[in-house]
Symmetry: C2
Subunit: 344 residues, 2 copies
DNA sequence: GCTTGAAACTAAAACGATTTAGCATTTCGA
DNA sequence: TCGAAATGCTAAATCGTTTTAGTTTCAAGC
């Protein structure tokens, strides 16, 4: 063996190794050897070589060769991080799919997929820079590093950024500051005085803005800043832990704003564990990014991006960019929707 | 215009239309016209033609041409339906990614993506049959139609089926019947007598098996079949509605098995609305397919696939198939894990 | 008048697979 | 013994794009 640093093995490599033509190898690989009458012995030799050399087909070549030249194939991607919860993209995904279905015809097919990158390492995503993976993408859940990378790069295809503001990109995001302000107003309206904002340690643009606007509004109306409780991550357990510590230390809290619903879910647990009642002892406002906010006990009052509207905007923008290339970058603001349930 | 049923436009089409070579078009498309000194007027003409003809680049060709021949690119996919909740695949996804990362080196890159198909229409997924999209896939959340399609087809690449049993495929699934039996045992152990099983109208293989095994066990021990409550879909709201109707009709229930956690979440709401307490009045057992079963109130007792184990098995199998092609199909059973929380 | 250089392009190869048409042999039937 | 049919393979084109290595034209410099 010892074929250390060769180039990857192709059908040619195998053909040479066995002493046949690439055509024969291809025939065997696609299990067509019966109808094309290859000798059983040859088939076996080729199969053995394929296994021995560890052949992996080149998808791009295969796709280029086998596609029907009459139909255009358009690849759409939703790019998110491994670290972010997947449901955050599901609305956008479904909306893109719906619009793609509406535009599908015998000469035009779409595939919509979710591409994943490690948070902060968008730049390493294969094929992003040379436009060799997608005809258009929606990028979301980026970290500041990724934002910086995008800002410094002009991607030569359709890109819509979801939930962030990045210069020279088509961006769709909630109206800046609006969520935090409305959340504060709801809690202020129920005559609370001990305000707390629960955030993850690592803030994205939206979560940072929510927290900032909330604090600004509370300060403006009460003269005092809310207490800030910081969860180590964005999962419920860390939210629970952080708030539990806050309450256990005897620090006051009768109005809580959680900048994501996962954290709110954790907060619910901490509040129950501390024998307080929602909303009697502590009013809670969340964001509405969780599919099941309605099934929280009590149902969670939310101020947050109108997800359906955002999804629609983002998908519409993507298809718009796809058809009219080189349109001016636009920043679309979607005002938050307020769903008053029981928790505040 | 009126170029109705032509073939899709390529760089050649544009080149001919403008009266330049494909090379010039390509140069403009990749924004390299400055360094390659194309005349500004030509650039503009090409740009205009690109827009006018509605050019869409062929991703496969671009990728084939631009990839570094020294590195092998391996495309892995997790195939699920638009209809199924995305979080069902997140564990498998993360595990595949982890193993891919471990196998990544300068000559070997992976991309892991989620491919979506419409439930029951897996056969229509572009590139599935001719192996021109993925080097290996994990297929999950299939409906019977999809299963039939798979059973009738020999896909010429690495395929692992998650949560189903399909002849001639590498399948990973929970030990058949085990979940339902254990769930029944838990409820029987707390001396209940009015058993109810909550299922969606459209049963998948696993949900059907859970329900069947649950009923069989209850019948065997009590001589009576559990009542069957059927939700119109798998979302919490439909579970709530179905159980609410059951309770409102005055029909008995002191032990509930919900075959998915989404339905359990809905059931919780119906039970609260009916002024019953969990587990005092009604004991509930769920499946553990929801990320937040621990944050239900009260926390949900679950019997279900040990998701981490399943994810590990499924990812390991995929990479195994990828390296040793043509291994015998195997059916891997993962025994359910039981997490006793508060609800039963 | 001849070289040099810049400007503005093009021809052709290459990426890796699949498939069509066809070329040698061998076998078989009459 | 000859032609036809079957057997077992290969050559070469092709998919659409990018890039390298030119080529041609014109202006400037000597």
């Amino acid at each position: 063996m010892a074929r250390g640093d060769q180039r990857p093995v192709t059908v040619h490599t195998i053909a040479k190794h066995v002493g046949v033509s690439p055509a024969a190898v291809s025939t065997v690989l696609s299990n067509r050897h019966e109808e094309r009458r290859l000798a059983a012995a040859t088939v076996e030799k080729i199969r053995a070589a394929v296994r021995e050399l560890g052949y992996v087909p080149n998808i791009a070549a295969r796709r280029l060769r086998t596609h029907d030249p009459e139909v255009r194939h358009i690849d759409l991607g939703i790019l998110t991080t491994f670290e972010a919860p997947l449901f955050l993209v599901s609305r956008a995904l479904r909306q893109v799919q719906r619009m793609a279905d509406a535009r599908t015809d015998p000469k035009r097919k779409f595939s919509v997929s979710i591409g994943m990158f490690h948070a902060g390492r968008l730049r390493e995503m294969p094929g992003l820079l040379n436009a060799s993976r997608f005809n258009g993408v929606i990028v979301t859940n980026t970290l500041p590093d990724d934002d910086a990378f995008l800002a410094a790069t002009a991607l030569p295809y359709a890109v819509v950024v979801l939930g962030r503001r990045i210069p020279n990109y088509f961006c769709v995001l909630e109206t800046p500051g609006e969520s935090g302000r409305r959340a504060a107003e709801i809690l202020l309206a129920s005559h609370r005085s001990q305000f707390v904002v629960l955030t993850p340690a690592l803030l994205t643009q939206s979560t940072a803005e929510r927290a900032a606007a909330f604090c600004a509004t509370v300060r403006e109306r009460t003269g005092r800043d809310p207490a800030r409780v910081i969860a180590s991550s964005f999962v419920p357990a860390s939210g629970a832990e952080a708030l539990r510590a806050h309450l256990a230390a005897g620090r006051p809290c009768d109005a809580l704003y959680a900048v994501t619903d996962s954290l709110a879910l954790g907060a619910y647990q901490a509040i129950r564990d501390g024998n307080r009642r929602i909303p009697r002892d502590i009013a809670v406002v969340g964001v509405g990014d969780h599919e099941h906010a309605d099934f929280f006990d009590p149902p969670l009052t939310c101020v947050g991006p109108a997800n359906d509207t955002v999804a629609e905007q983002v998908a519409t923008s993507l298809f718009h960019l796809l058809s009219h290339r080189r349109v001016k970058p636009v920043e679309l603001h979607v005002p938050p929707s307020v769903v008053m349930r029981v928790s505040a």
